[in-house]
C-alpha cells in the first residue's frame, strides 16, 4: 500500500501539483439502539476509501473513492487534477501550503479493550442495563433512549513532503436521552460519554449514577417554570462555559474564517478582547477527551493553541494553508470527517482556563441574576461575532442565594463585548461537553470546558416578562 500511495503522490508532482496529499481509511463500527426497554436495532457499517487532494497553480482539486485500488487511485488523481485545472485561471487568492518537515509515525490504538472482542450479545445487554436504570427511575419517565456505538479504524496520512503516518484509532460511546412527563408538561435530558478509547469507556459507566442522573435531571425540569426574558448577570457552569468558549471564541479563532474576513477577531492580534480574567485555549493533547488526537489530518503534530491570554488575543487555529497565508507555523488543526471530505480547520478541546474563586463565593457575591447549568446547543455567525447558547437549566439568584428553577432559556451576545464583562472566574476547570461540532457540512468530535464564571448584563431569551428587568 505504501508503495502505491507514494507512486500516486509522485505522479501528482510529475503532473504539475506543487502539493498533494492522500488519506486512506479503513474501518468498521457497530451501533445498538435501545428504546423503552427493547434493544431492537443493531447496526454495523464498513467504511473504507481514500481522498486525494492536489494543489496546481494555486488551485485546489479534490477527489475521493470508496474503493482503494491502483486503478481507482489513478482515476482520483485524474479527477483531482482536472478539478484544479478547471479552477486555475480564475483564482484571485491562490492556494498555498506551509512547508513542514516530513513526519514518519505509527500510532497504535489507545484502546485497552478492543470492542470487537466483546460478544455482541454482551454489548447489547450492557446498553440495555444502562437504559433500564433510567427507565425504572420514576413513573413519570415516559421515554428512554440509549445508544451504544463503537468504531475501529486505520488512517494513513501521506503527502508530497514525505509525511507518512499510520494511525489506528478506536472510539466508543454511550448516549442516553430521557423524557419525563407530568400532565401536559414534557421535559427531556440527555447525556453522552464519548471519546477515543476502547470498551473500557463503557465498562467505566456506573449506570446507577450516570443514567439515574439523566433521569433525575428530566424529572427536576418538570417542576421548573419558564425562564424570564431580559438582561441578567449570569453565572454559568463548566458545560455552558465550554459551549461559550467553543461558539463565541473558538469558531472565530479558526484561521480559515479569519483569513477570509469571516471572523470578528480578524486583525485583532495583540488586542484586549476580553476581561483580563479570561484565558482561552484549544488543546488536542489533553488525555482522554473527545477532541484529543496525536496528529491532525495533514500530518502535523497535535499541540496546545492559546487563543486568549489574560484577555489578549494571541493566536489562531491553523491548517497548512492558513499558516502559509498568515506567515506563521502550522499548529495542527486541520481535520476531515472522512475520506470523502477535505481537511478544514477545526477545534479540538476548547476551554476557558480557571481563575481563583469558587462557585459558592460567586453566588454569595451576586445580588440578582441567573445560575445556568447544562449547555444544550449553540451556534455563531462569526463575521458578526453573534452567538447563541441554549441551556438546560437556570436558577434565580437573589441576594446571594439560589432560588426558583427555570427551564427553556438561551443567552446571546456579541463575541467582542460579552467576555469583557466577565468579573469572576472559578478555579476548577471541567471538560463536560464531548460531542460533535458541525462546520462546512462536516461533523467532528470535539470537547469543551471551563470553570464556573460570572458575566454581567447578558440578554436571556425566556418566556416570562415578569422579573425580566433588573
Amino acid at each position: 500500500m505504501r508503495e502505491l500511495i507514494e507512486d500516486i503522490l509522485s505522479d501528482a508532482k510529475r503532473r504539475g501539483a506543487s502539493f498533494a496529499d492522500l488519506r486512506v481509511t479503513d474501518g468498521e463500527g457497530t451501533s445498538i439502539a435501545v428504546e423503552d426497554g427493547q434493544a431492537d436495532k443493531v447496526s454495523s457499517a464498513s467504511r473504507s476509501g481514500a481522498g486525494l487532494r492536489v494543489l496546481v497553480d494555486g488551485a485546489w482539486g479534490f477527489a475521493p473513492t470508496n474503493t482503494v485500488t491502483a486503478a481507482e487511485l489513478r482515476r482520483c488523481l485524474d479527477d483531482a487534477l482536472s478539478m484544479a485545472k478547471a479552477a486555475s485561471g480564475h483564482i484571485t487568492e491562490p492556494g498555498v501550503v506551509a512547508e513542514v518537515e516530513p513526519v514518519e509515525a505509527t500510532i497504535e490504538s489507545e484502546a485497552e479493550i478492543d470492542p470487537r472482542e466483546i460478544p455482541l450479545a454482551d454489548r447489547v445487554q450492557r446498553i440495555f442495563e444502562i437504559e433500564q436504570v433510567a427507565r425504572e427511575r420514576d413513573d413519570r419517565i415516559v421515554n428512554t433512549r440509549a445508544n451504544y456505538a463503537d468504531g475501529v479504524g486505520r488512517l494513513i496520512i501521506a503527502n508530497t513532503f514525505g509525511t507518512f503516518i499510520e494511525q489506528e484509532a478506536t472510539r466508543c460511546s454511550a448516549r442516553l436521552s430521557t423524557t419525563a412527563q407530568s400532565g401536559e408538561i414534557r421535559q427531556a435530558a440527555n447525556e453522552s460519554e464519548a471519546r477515543p478509547g476502547g470498551y473500557e469507556i463503557i465498562d467505566a459507566i456506573d449506570p446507577g449514577e450516570w443514567a439515574a442522573d439523566v433521569a433525575d435531571r428530566a424529572l427536576a425540569l418538570l417542576d421548573a417554570v419558564p425562564a424570564p426574558a431580559g438582561t441578567f448577570d449570569i453565572i454559568i457552569d463548566p458545560r455552558v462555559c465550554g459551549l461559550l468558549a467553543h461558539e463565541a471564541f473558538g469558531h472565530n479563532a479558526e484561521a480559515d474564517a479569519v483569513w477570509a474576513g469571516e471572523s470578528i477577531l480578524a486583525g485583532r492580534e495583540g488586542e484586549q478582547v476580553c476581561s483580563e480574567l479570561v484565558t482561552i485555549a484549544d488543546d488536542p493533547t489533553l488525555e482522554g477527551l473527545n477532541g484529543s488526537f496525536r496528529y491532525d489530518h495533514e500530518g502535523v503534530p497535535a499541540q496546545r493553541h492559546d487563543i486568549i491570554r489574560d484577555g489578549v488575543l494571541v493566536g489562531y487555529l491553523h491548517s497548512l494553508e492558513t499558516a502559509a497565508r498568515m506567515g506563521v507555523e502550522p499548529n495542527g488543526c486541520a481535520r476531515a470527517q472522512d475520506h470523502q471530505n477535505e481537511p478544514i480547520v477545526r477545534m479540538s478541546n476548547t476551554f476557558i482556563d480557571g481563575g481563583d474563586t469558587t462557585l459558592e463565593e460567586i453566588i454569595a457575591d451576586t445580588e440578582e441574576g441567573l445560575l445556568m447549568k447544562g449547555g444544550y446547543w449553540g451556534y455563531v455567525f462569526t463575521a458578526r461575532g453573534q452567538f447563541t447558547c441554549n441551556v438546560e437549566n437556570a436558577w434565580e439568584i437573589k441576594d446571594g442565594k439560589v432560588g426558583q428553577h427555570f427551564r427553556n432559556a438561551s443567552f446571546a451576545g456579541l463575541t467582542l463585548g460579552m467576555l469583557s464583562r466577565v468579573d469572576a472566574v472559578g478555579s476548577e476547570v471541567k471538560f463536560d461537553l464531548g460531542g460533535t461540532c458541525g462546520k462546512g457540512g462536516q461533523g467532528m468530535p470535539v470537547d469543551a470546558g471551563g470553570p464556573f464564571l460570572r458575566i454581567r448584563d447578558v440578554v436571556v431569551g425566556g418566556q416570562q416578562q415578569t422579573g425580566s428587568e433588573q
Binding site: R47, F62, P64, A87
Partner: protein
C-alpha cells in the same frame, strides 16, 4: 446501471432470506457530486465525489439488523445481507414490528432527472460563482463573498422481501452565497441561494446581488426593548418553523411519547388561517418522489388543515404498529442511514394580504428575515436568537436588530398566527409565504 443496481439489491434480499430473515429490504445508490467553493471572493476548491454503497435491513422476530458497505457488488451485497441477519438475531425481538409494506403502483413523477444538469462540469460552476462574486461586488466593491455552486446526480434502487422493486434517477444543482460587508466596526451579512432539479428552474443570476443587497440592509443593527410584540416571519423563517412543527408530527416520536404533538391528532394546534399541505408529486419538485424510502406510493394531503393537525407521518413500522396504513413518509438519507420519517414538499396556503400590508398594520414589532425557530421536538419550547431581522415601526421595516431572542412554545407561535401573506417565495415544489404572529415575548438590550 439502474437495472444493475436493482439486481444487486435483489441479490441482497435473496441472501438475507436464505440466511433466515423474516423480512428484509436492500437499498443501493450510486451518486456523483461536483462542486466549486468560493472563499474570500475567490474560487478556492473544486471537487468531484463519487459515492457508491448499499445497505440491507433484516428482521428476525421483529428485531432489526442493518448493515452497510461502501461498494456495489453482488458479493458485497450478500455479505452485507448475512451480516444484517446476524445483527437482527442479536437484537431483542420487537413484538410491535408487523411487516414491511407490499408493492403498490404509483404514477411516475416527471422531471426529477435532467440530462443537461447531470452533464455539467466544474467549469460551469466556476462560471456561476464568478457571476455571483461580480454581482455582489457591483452592489458593494468591498463585499466579501463565500459560498459555492455544484450539482449532484445519481441512481438508486430498492428491493424488498415483500416484492418491492423500484429504482429512480435524480439530479439537483444549486448555488449559495454568503456576503459580508464591513463598515468600520459594523458588519452586515446575509445569504441567498437557489436549488432546482432541472436547469430551467434554476436561478443563476442575481443570487450574489440579492445576498449583497440584504447584507447592506443589515448594517447598523441595534437592540430593541424587551417586550411582547408581534412578529412577521419572512419565508425563510416560516420554512424553519413549519418544517420543525411537521417533524414533531412524525409518528415514531409521537408513539414513544417524546413529541410535544403526542395525543394531538385531530386537535386544533394552530390558528385557523394556517393550512400546510404536502405535495409529493410535483414535477421536478425538490422533495418529490412517487415512492417513499420503503417503496410506499406517496400522495398529496393536508397535514395542518385550517389549524387542525390532520395526521401523523408514518413509515411502515409506525403505521402497522398503530393499525393504520403507511402514509408514504419513510425516508432514507442515503445508503448509510437507517429508515426514518420525513415529509416531502410542504406548501403553505397563502392568505389575502401581501407581506407589506401585514407589516403596515403593525405599530411596533419585529420582521424576521431568517432565524432557526425550531421548537424542541420533545418539550415544544423554543428559546433562540432572531438572527436576521428588522424592527417594525409605524408599519414599516426600520433598523436591523441585534442580539434579540424569543422565548415561546410551538403551540403559542402557531395559535398566535393571525395572518398568512398572499405573496410567497416559491422553490420547486415548495410554497413559503410570510406569517404574522401576535404577542410573542422577545428579549434584547434596548
Amino acid at each position: 446501471m439502474m437495472g444493475e443496481l436493482l439486481d444487486i439489491a435483489q441479490a441482497a434480499v435473496e441472501a438475507a432470506q436464505k440466511s433466515g430473515a423474516d423480512f428484509c429490504d436492500a437499498y443501493c445508490s450510486d451518486s456523483t457530486e461536483v462542486s466549486v467553493e468560493v472563499e474570500k471572493s475567490s474560487i478556492n476548491y473544486c471537487s468531484t465525489v463519487r459515492d457508491q454503497g448499499l445497505s440491507v435491513r433484516a428482521y428476525v422476530n421483529g428485531g432489526q439488523g442493518f448493515a452497510t458497505v461502501q461498494q456495489l457488488t453482488t458479493e458485497g451485497a450478500r455479505e452485507a445481507a448475512q451480516r444484517a441477519v446476524e445483527l437482527a438475531r442479536a437484537a431483542h425481538p420487537d413484538p410491535d414490528f408487523v411487516r414491511l409494506p407490499d408493492p403498490a403502483e404509483a404514477e411516475p413523477v416527471p422531471e426529477l432527472f435532467d440530462e443537461e444538469m447531470a452533464g455539467l462540469d466544474a467549469g460551469a460552476f466556476v462560471d456561476w460563482c464568478l457571476r455571483g462574486i461580480d454581482e455582489a461586488r457591483s452592489v458593494a466593491e468591498d463585499a466579501i463573498v463565500q459560498g459555492g455552486a455544484g450539482a449532484g446526480w445519481g441512481e438508486s434502487a430498492l428491493a424488498s422481501s415483500t416484492g418491492i422493486a423500484v429504482s429512480k434517477r435524480a439530479s439537483s444543482a444549486g448555488l449559495s452565497f454568503f456576503v459580508i460587508i464591513a463598515r468600520d466596526d459594523d458588519v452586515g451579512t446575509f445569504f441567498e441561494q437557489d436549488m432546482a432539479r432541472r436547469m430551467q428552474d434554476l436561478e443563476i443570476d442575481r443570487i450574489g446581488e440579492k445576498a449583497a443587497l440584504e447584507a447592506l440592509r443589515q448594517l447598523g443593527s441595534r437592540p430593541v426593548p424587551t417586550a411582547r410584540v408581534p412578529l412577521v416571519l419572512g419565508p425563510l423563517a416560516t420554512m424553519s418553523l413549519t418544517g420543525s412543527v411537521i417533524s414533531a408530527a412524525e409518528a415514531d416520536g409521537v408513539q414513544r411519547n417524546r413529541s410535544w404533538l403526542a395525543g394531538r391528532e385531530g386537535d386544533r394546534i394552530a390558528s385557523e388561517v394556517l393550512t400546510v399541505r404536502e405535495e409529493p408529486l410535483v414535477p421536478a419538485g425538490l422533495r418529490s418522489s412517487e415512492y417513499d424510502g420503503e417503496g410506499v406510493a406517496r400522495e398529496p394531503r393536508a397535514l395542518i388543515d385550517e389549524g387542525v393537525l390532520t395526521t401523523y407521518l408514518h413509515n411502515s413500522y409506525t403505521a402497522f404498529k398503530e393499525g393504520v396504513g403507511p402514509t408514504g413518509h419513510a425516508s432514507r438519507g442515503g445508503y448509510s442511514s437507517t429508515v426514518g420519517i420525513s415529509p416531502s414538499n410542504l406548501q403553505i396556503q397563502p392568505g389575502e394580504k401581501t407581506e407589506a400590508e401585514l407589516i403596515s398594520e403593525i405599530d411596533e414589532g419585529i420582521y424576521v428575515a431568517y432565524a432557526g425557530i425550531s421548537p424542541n421536538s420533545v418539550t415544544g419550547e423554543v428559546s433562540t436568537t432572531l438572527d436576521f431581522g428588522f424592527r417594525i415601526e409605524d408599519g414599516e421595516c426600520a433598523a436591523p436588530i441585534s442580539t434579540t431572542l424569543i422565548g415561546s412554545t410551538g403551540e403559542e407561535l402557531l395559535l398566535n398566527i393571525d395572518a398568512v401573506s398572499s405573496d410567497y417565495r416559491e422553490e420547486p415544489g415548495l410554497i413559503l409565504p410570510s406569517l404574522r404572529i401576535s404577542d410573542i415575548q422577545i428579549a434584547s438590550e434596548g
